[in-house]
Amino acid sequence: MLAYLIRRVAYAVPILFGVNLLIFLLFFFVQSPDDMAETFLGEKRVTEEMKENWKREHGYHLPRLLNTVEPFPAVFTQTIFWQKSVPLFAFRFGKSDMDGSRIGAELKRRIPYSLCLTVPIFCISLLLYLFFAMIVAFYRATYLDTWALVVCVILMSISSMFYILGGQYLVAIHLKLAPVSGFDRNLLYAVKFLVLPVLIGIVANIGSGVRYYRTIFLEEINKDYIRTARAKGLGEGTVLFKHALKNAMFPILTNVVVSIPFLIMGMLLLENFFGIPGLGSYTIDAIHKQDFAVVRAMVFLGSFLYVAGLILVDVSYTLVDPRVRLT
C-alpha cells in the first residue's frame, strides 16, 4: 500500500513538471515580459525606464532559460525559469504582478471562503442527486421516468448564467429573503450570504447530476446479481437501496472522490456574482486584470489538485472494497 502510494506520487512529479513546462512556454515564450510590463503600467506617461523598472521589480528582466553572462550556478538560477517556474513545486507562488501581494498568503486566506461555498454544495447535491436518481431508477420504464428524464435534459440545456441571474433576481431582490451579494469574514455572519448561492449551485446541476447517477443505477440493476436477488423474492426497494446502491458505490466514488480536491478552487461564477472573496473570484479577477502570476499559480494549483484527486480515488477503492489491493 505504502509502496504503491509512493509510486503514484512519484508518477505525479513528471506530470506536474509537464504542466509547469507548458505554463512556462505559454507565458514566457508566446508572451514577452515587455508585453506584460506595458499591460500593467497605467495609461499615462509610460517611459522605457518605467518599463525596465517594472520588469526588475517583478523579476522579468532575467533571461528565460540560460543566463550566459553569469558564472556557473547563476547560469541556471538567474533565469526566469528558475526563479518563476521551479518554486511552484515547493508551493512558492511568488507575488502578484498587479499589486505585489503574496499569492501564497492570498490563497491561504481565500481557500476557507471557497470551502464555505463548495463544501455545502458538494455534500447536499451529492445526497440529493443520489436520492432523486434512485427514485427515478425505481420508477424506470414508466412515464414518470420518461418525464423525469425530459425535465433533466431541459434543466441541463439551460445556461448556468440563467440560474444565477434568475435566482438572484427572484430571491434577493424580489422576495428580499437573502442579501443581494456580499460576505463576512466571520462565519457566523457569513451564513446568510451563503444560503442563496448554495441553493443556486445545487439547482443548476440537478439535471446532469440526476441523469448521470440514474445511468449508473440502471447499469447495476441490469446485472445478474440483482436478478438473483429479485428472484429470491426481495422487494424492489430492498434490491435497489441495499444491493444496487452498495455496488454502484464503485463508479460513484470514481466520479466523486476525484472532484473533492477541486472544492478548494471555488466556483468562478457564483463567487463573482455574489461577491464571495474565494479562489473563484480571485481567478476571475486575475483574468480580468491579466495578472499572469496569479493565473500561473492557479493553473499549477489546479493540476496539482487533479493529480491528488486521482491518488485519492485509488486509496478510496481499497477502503470501499477490501478485495482491491494496491500493489
Partner: protein, 753 residues
C-alpha cells in the same frame, strides 16, 4: 545604511481560543434565522453614525506620490492633508488654507534676483517665484507605530524581524503606537519624494518644469541609487540578485542629502516653495495629495524587510493628519476609514452659495467636523447588486446608471429632471452637477486623410463633427445627462461662455426652444463632404471613403454599442468606419508614433483653470514630437502664441478675450469632435446630509452627516421578506409526489407478493 538594531517587540494577544467554538455553536442557530434577512451588515452595524458605500475598482496605490486615479483619491484625500484645499460650498472653486495659516501671495524675482513689486508681472519678466507657507501649530498625525519610541527616544520598531509582525494584518495591530506634531519638514520630504525615480510619480514631468531643481534632484537620487547598487553588486559577487537584495535589504535613500533649491525649511512650521517661472496654478497643485506631508519616520518604518514582506507600505497604509485613518484595507473586499482621534479642530463652512441655505447645506455651519465616525466600503464589482442595495437602503448614496434612469428620474415639461414618485416616496434626494470633464473624438492631425490644415481637410472634420450628433448619443446612452460641448472648456471653468454666444458656429446652432445647443442639419454635413472632395462619401477613385477608429476597448460592452452608433452616424455621410482594435500597449504605441486615425479622448480637470484644458492643443505638448498630452498632435503657431500669453494670467477680461480667440481657432480647425460635458446625478437617502458634489477634491466625507435612527427604521420598513412563494413551492413539490405514490400503489397491488 540599514539600521539592524534588535529590539524586543511586545506581542499582542492572539485571538481567544474559545471564540471559534462559540462561533460554531451559534452557527447552527444562525442558519435557521439566516434566510430571514437581506441585510448585508452585522446586526446593529447601521445604527452607528457610519457611512456605507461601495467601490467598484480596488485601489492599488495609496502613496500620495503615485496615487493618480479618482478611486484612489477618494480614499487618501480623507487621510492626507495638503497645505490648501477648496471651499466645500463656494463656486467658482475657491482655494482656502487647510493646514496652512493662509494662502500666501507669491513673491516674484527677476533675472538679477531683484524682487518685482508688481503683484501680477508678465511671465517673461519672472525668473523665480516663491511661496512661503506657514502651517498651523498643534496639528498631529494619526496614531501609528512609526512614531512609537523606546525609552532611549529611538524608534521602537526598527529592525523588526518578520515573525514578530507575521500575525498583524495592519500597522494598527502593533501594540505601541504614538503620534507627533506636523512639521514643515514633512512637506519638504514629500516634495522631494516626487523626484524619487523608484516611485515614478505621474506628475513629476509636469512639476519638474516649474519647481526649481526638481529634475536635478531626481538625477541626483538616480545617481545615489546606482552607486549603492554598484557597491552591493561588487560586494555580493556573482550571486547578486537585485530584486531579492532590495527586498531583504532595502535601499534607504537619504532624501535630504542632495541640495534642492525648490524647497527651503525655515523652522518647524515654515517652508518656502520656489518655482523657476511664474505659475499661479501651483496653488491648485498645493490642494492635491501630491503635496501632502509624509513623516520621515513612516518612510523609515516601512523601509524594513519585514514590512516589505508583509506589504506594509505607504502604498497600502497611509500615515496622515486628516480626519480619518485607514482601519481596514482589504482591496478585494472591504475598506474601512475610521475617525482619527487626533484630528485638529476643523469646522463646517459658515458661508456658501445663496441656494445652499435652502438646500440645508448650511444647517451645520460652524460645527466641528467630522460628524461621521466611520466609512465602510465594500467591493461591488457589478452595478446591479449595488443599485439594489441602495434601493433597499443598505448603501447611503448612489449614482444613477443608464439602466435605472427611468426608474429613478422623471423629466418635467420644462426639461428639468426630478425624482420618480417611487423614489420620492422613499424620501430620496436628487443632486445634479455638471462635471468639469471633456470628452472628445480625436483626429490625428498628422494623418493624410483626417489630419492636415488645408480648407478641404478642415471641412471633412467639420462634416464628421456634424454627423456625430452627441445630443442623440446623450439621449441613447446617458438619458440626456450631458451638455453638448462647444469647445474644450466645460462650464464652471473660467473662459466658458454659456448660451447662444458660446456657440461653435462651424458645427452647432443654438436651439432657443429647448435652450441648448444642437448640431447643424445633416444636409450641411453632406455639402461639406462634397466641398471636401468626397461627394456622397466617395473618394476620387470611386470607393467609399473608409476611416479607421483605433481603440483598445475590445472587451467593453458599452463601447461595442457606442461604436455601432458612431458607425451608423458616419454611414449617413457615406463614410465607412472600420475599427482597429488592439491591446492597450499596442494602442499606446500607435499613439506615441502618431500611427492612428480617429480615436477618443477625455480629460478630467486637475484644477479649475482653463489652462488645464487648453494645453491639450498646445503645440509643444504634442504627443509624437514631445510626448505631451496633446494626443491629436495639433500645431498652430497662432494658437501657441496666444496660449503662452494666456497661461499665467489672472482671470481678467483680457484673459477672456484671449481665450475667445483661441477657442475660435480650435473650432475652425476642428482637430477634435467636441462631444459633451457629462452631468452627474447623485441620489442620497433622507438620512444622509450635507451632500454637495465637488469636482476638484474628494476630502468631503468629513462634512457628511447621517441620522442612523432614521436609517434603521427605513431599512426595516423597506425590507420585509416575502414568504408565500416559498410555501407555494413546497406545496408544489408535495403535489408532484402524488403520481409517484399512485404508481407505487399500483405496482404493489399488481406485483405478486
Amino acid at each position: 545604511m540599514v539600521n539592524r538594531k534588535t529590539t524586543r517587540i511586545p506581542m499582542t494577544a492572539r485571538p481567544r481560543p474559545g471564540l471559534r467554538r462559540r462561533c460554531a455553536a451559534a452557527l447552527v442557530l444562525c442558519a435557521g434565522l439566516a434566510a430571514c434577512t437581506n441585510n448585508p451588515y452585522r446586526p446593529g452595524e447601521t445604527a452607528e453614525p457610519a457611512l456605507f458605500a461601495a467601490f467598484s475598482t480596488p485601489p492599488t496605490k495609496l502613496d500620495p506620490t503615485s496615487a493618480y486615479y479618482v478611486h484612489e483619491g477618494q480614499i487618501i484625500d480623507q487621510i492626507y492633508e495638503p497645505p490648501f484645499t477648496y471651499h466645500y460650498l463656494k463656486r467658482p472653486y475657491e482655494v482656502i488654507p487647510l493646514t496652512a495659516e493662509a494662502v500666501p501671495q507669491p513673491v516674484y524675482y527677476d533675472g538679477n534676483g531683484r524682487r518685482i513689486a508688481d503683484p501680477d508681472p508678465p511671465s517673461d519678466a519672472v525668473a523665480r517665484a516663491e511661496y512661503t507657507i506657514r502651517i498651523k501649530p498643534g496639528i498631529r498625525y494619526q496614531d501609528h507605530p512609526c512614531f512609537a519610541a523606546g525609552p532611549d527616544g529611538q524608534p521602537l520598531y526598527a529592525g523588526v524581524p518578520l515573525d514578530a509582525v507575521e500575525a498583524y494584518e495592519s500597522p494598527n495591530d502593533f501594540p505601541h503606537r504614538a503620534t507627533r506634531a506636523l512639521r514643515a519638514e514633512d512637506y519638504a520630504l514629500q516634495i522631494r519624494r516626487l523626484a524619487d525615480p523608484r516611485l515614478a510619480s505621474p506628475v513629476f514631468s509636469t512639476l519638474s518644469a516649474y519647481i526649481d531643481g526638481l529634475r536635478e534632484l531626481s538625477d541626483a537620487y538616480a545617481g545615489m541609487l546606482e552607486a549603492e547598487r554598484a557597491r552591493r553588486r561588487a560586494a555580493a559577487g556573482p550571486a547578486y540578485n537585485r530584486q531579492r537584495d532590495e527586498r531583504e535589504n532595502p535601499i534607504r535613500l537619504d532624501y535630504f542629502a542632495p541640495d534642492f533649491p525648490g524647497v527651503t525649511v525655515h523652522d518647524a512650521l515654515t517652508f518656502t516653495l520656489a518655482l523657476k517661472r511664474k505659475y499661479p496654478q501651483i496653488r491648485y497643485w498645493l490642494c492635491m495629495h501630491f503635496f501632502a506631508p509624509v513623516p520621515p519616520e513612516a518612510v523609515a518604518f516601512y523601509t524594513q524587510p519585514a514590512m516589505i514582506e508583509k506589504q506594509f507600505s505607504l502604498n497600502r497604509w497611509p500615515v496622515g493628519t486628516g480626519p480619518y485613518f485607514l482601519k481596514i484595507f482589504r482591496p478585494n473586499e472591504t475598506i474601512v476609514l475610521e475617525r482619527n482621534p487626533n484630528y485638529h479642530p476643523d469646522a463646517y463652512p459658515a458661508d456658501g452659495m445663496p441656494e445652499d441655505r435652502a438646500a440645508g447645506l448650511l444647517d451645520d455651519a460652524g460645527r466641528r467636523v467630522p460628524f461621521i465616525h466611520r466609512q465602510v466600503m465594500h467591493l461591488e464589482k457589478e452595478a446591479v447588486p449595488a443599485w439594489n442595495k441602495f434601493l433597499q437602503g443598505y448603501l447611503d448614496a448612489s449614482g444613477v446608471s443608464v439602466d435605472v434612469f427611468d426608474q429613478a428620474i422623471q423629466i418635467q415639461m420644462t426639461g428639468e429632471p426630478t425624482l420618480s414618485p417611487s423614489m420620492e416616496s422613499k424620501g430620496i434626494r436628487l443632486i445634479t452637477d455638471i462635471d468639469t470633464t471633456l470628452w472628445y473624438t480625436a483626429f490625428n492631425m498628422l494623418d493624410d486623410v483626417v489630419g492636415g490644415y488645408a480648407p478641404e481637410q478642415r471641412k471633412l472634420r467639420r462634416a464628421v463633427s456634424i454627423a456625430l450628433d452627441y445630443n442623440e448619443f446623450l439621449d441613447i446612452f446617458l438619458n440626456g445627462r450631458g451638455v453638448l460641448a462647444q469647445g474644450p472648456l466645460p462650464p464652471g471653468i473660467f473662459g466658458h461662455r454659456p448660451g447662444p454666444e458660446g456657440t461653435n458656429p462651424y458645427v452647432d446652432t443654438w436651439d432657443p426652444v429647448r435652450e441648448r445647443h444642437a448640431r447643424r442639419p445633416l444636409s450641411e454635413a453632406r455639402r461639406l463632404m462634397a466641398e471636401a472632395g468626397y461627394p456622397e462619401g466617395r473618394t476620387p477613385g470611386g470607393e467609399p471613403l473608409t476611416l479607421y477608429y483605433d481603440h483598445a476597448q475590445g472587451g467593453d460592452t458599452f463601447f461595442r454599442s457606442y461604436f455601432e452608433w458612431v458607425r451608423g452616424r458616419l454611414d449617413t455621410l457615406g463614410i465607412r468606419l472600420r475599427e482597429r482594435a488592439t491591446d492597450l500597449s499596442r494602442y499606446r504605441q500607435k499613439r506615441d508614433q502618431g500611427n492612428w486615425q480617429i480615436s477618443s479622448g477625455g480629460w478630467l480637470a486637475d484644477y479649475p483653470d482653463p489652462e488645464n484644458f487648453l494645453f491639450l492643443f498646445y503645440g509643444p505638448n504634442g504627443k509624437v514630437a514631445h510626448g505631451g498630452p496633446n494626443m491629436v498632435n495639433y500645431v498652430n503657431p497662432e494658437y501657441d502664441a496666444l496660449f503662452e500669453r494666456m497661461e499665467s494670467m489672472r482671470n481678467t477680461p483680457e484673459r477672456q478675450a484671449l481665450i475667445d480667440a483661441m477657442l475660435d481657432i480650435l473650432r475652425r480647425d476642428a482637430p477634435a469632435v467636441w462631444q459633451y460635458h457629462p452631468v452627474s446625478y447623485i441620489l442620497a437617502h433622507p438620512w444622509l446630509h450635507n451632500v454637495k458634489p465637488h469636482n476638484m477634491s474628494y476630502n468631503t466625507i468629513k462634512y457628511r452627516r447621517v441620522d442612523p435612527d432614521l436609517r434603521v427604521r427605513q431599512q426595516r420598513a423597506w425590507n420585509r421578506p416575502v414568504w408565500w412563494p416559498l410555501a407555494a413551492l413546497a406545496a408544489l413539490l408535495v403535489l408532484s409526489t402524488v403520481p409517484a405514490a399512485v404508481t407505487l400503489y399500483r405496482r404493489n397491488r399488481c406485483s405478486p407478493t
